[in-house]
Symmetry: C2
Subunit: 305 residues, 2 copies
């Protein structure tokens, strides 16, 4: 049964918010990465190539939406959003390399090692990695050094061997490991879920919300992350390379276990819908300040890329 | 003319300090990197391979020596030392990859991409990179969050595109850029000098020494860093692969400009000696608490690897 409140929330379109965060990230990356007049120019050009003008900016939008819950000033929220996007872009650059996923196209453009070379791709990724922490630790991000240090801790854990990098390793050995549903769930919770968790946690850290009050955000992040990944798996099976801006059908070709290969298309789709309902239910304690997070959750399974 | 004070200082042997820091780093890496009982095991094994049992541990020793100046508790100094070594080891793993320097041996062992594979090398480097910041931002490193945030800021800058990664990029394009002496100096100040600068700065940050009083440390770090690099260039020309634990003669073979190719062996050696005298002179305001830094400076140009 659809309540009046649900209908109001459903009417919010994500398009303006996505356009705005895309523009904001492009502007900030442009300012963050001025090309120096020395032989480091190529490094900065490679970072700009990867960071500017593309991607859904889903993680930055989640940071802004989570900060909105607690009325964090937008400029500060956008700094944290920029940091998480630095991490995301660095991981894409490294992940696309020939020794990893070996992808030629990303966000509709040649990948960094194609447009430049592999060595530059390694260094551009490493540089964006360092910049993420530089941004978070800056007093402009938060006047309270406790908040800055906590942001650094949480992002380091979410992106390191107990988070994203650990999940990427699990993915690398997937052929031998032949995961079941709980294995795939664990892999994805590390590989993509941990960073999504950071996006939500960041809102609470920025507002100095006590740990005990962060439970709904963690529930939302966990459910959204899994639903998002199932939707990705469905797009990999059903989507077009044009819409995705990258190669599709790779998981199936590699014989990797995914939510779709384990559940089938129909059950995977049902599961994603259920997870999104759950994610939204976690936000019941929030009023209209939670509408952006609700809209993101719905978008996660309705998008075509 | 050698004063009595000089003679006392000169009598300090670095050997016990090098042995102690090597042991301390190995112990701490062992605790930091327990191999998990899941398919991330390979990632942790690769990090352990690179991080444990090898290397001069020169940067950790510099951190401890700088912390000694201000009587920072040893356990805390060793945490910062571990963080900087995480960054150093990550940079070696990535730098050794086929697309970068393409080295098969490091610290007398096969490089990570040889012992494991390239993808694991990328992720092991990325993981150590994240761990460095996780260690610094932890309250166990310093009770004052200002100090933790400042450590993160300084390490991110020193290792990122305005520091180490930028210097590596300058090195990559060195064939085309054909640097003169000031170009090589700038390259090395970024590639290796920035991290050495962090080691000294870290002591001051840990002791909350005001910025204005850090000038001697910065002077010491700058002079030591250049002398260290000149000594490296001399070893690349004159040393043996056995002693170095890695391939030598590579710079000359690649036709890259180095301090030795630009100055010649004799002038390079004189310059290194002069820089070490200068580095030690910067410490004139310190008593015997500066002896370890003085001994490190002398060792920098006397070592055989």
């Amino acid at each position: 049964m659809s309540t009046k409140s649900d209908m109001v929330h459903a009417s919010i379109s994500l398009k303006p918010a996505l356009d705005a965060i895309g523009k904001a990230m492009d502007q900030r990356f442009d300012r963050l990465l001025p090309v120096p007049a020395d032989s480091r120019a190529r490094l900065f050009e490679a970072m700009r190539h990867a960071a500017i003008g593309g991607g859904k900016r889903m993680r930055p939008l989640l940071v802004v939406a989570a900060c909105d819950l607690f009325h964090v000033p937008r400029e500060r929220a956008l700094r944290v959003a920029l940091a998480i996007e630095c991490i995301h872009v660095y991981s894409l650059i490294h992940d696309d390399m020939p020794c990893m996923d070996d992808d030629d196209m990303r966000r509709g453009k040649p990948t960094v090692h194609k447009a430049f070379d592999e060595a530059t791709a390694v260094l551009a990724g490493d540089s964006l990695h360092a910049l993420a922490f530089e941004i978070l630790a800056d007093p402009a991000t938060h006047e309270d050094p406790f908040a800055r240090a906590e942001l650094v801790t949480e992002l380091a854990i979410a992106s390191g061997p107990s988070g994203m990098a650990g999940g990427q390793m699990m993915d690398l050995v997937a052929d031998d490991a032949s995961y079941d549903l709980s294995g795939v769930t664990r892999l994805q919770q590390l590989k993509t879920g941990a960073l999504i968790g950071f996006c939500l946690e960041a809102g609470a850290i920025m507002a100095r919300v006590p740990d005990a009050q962060r439970t709904p955000l963690r529930g939302y992040a966990r459910d959204l992350g899994l639903a998002f990944q199932i939707a990705d798996d469905l797009l990999d099976v059903e989507g077009s390379a044009d819409a995705a801006g990258k190669a599709v059908g790779k998981d199936a070709a590699a014989g990797k276990a995914t939510f779709v290969s384990l559940l089938g298309v129909e059950r995977a789709r049902t599961q994603a819908t259920m997870l999104i309902d759950q994610a939204i239910a976690h936000l019941h304690g929030f009023g209209e300040e939670g509408d952006l997070l609700r809209a993101i959750a719905r978008f996660a399974i309705e998008r075509d890329r």
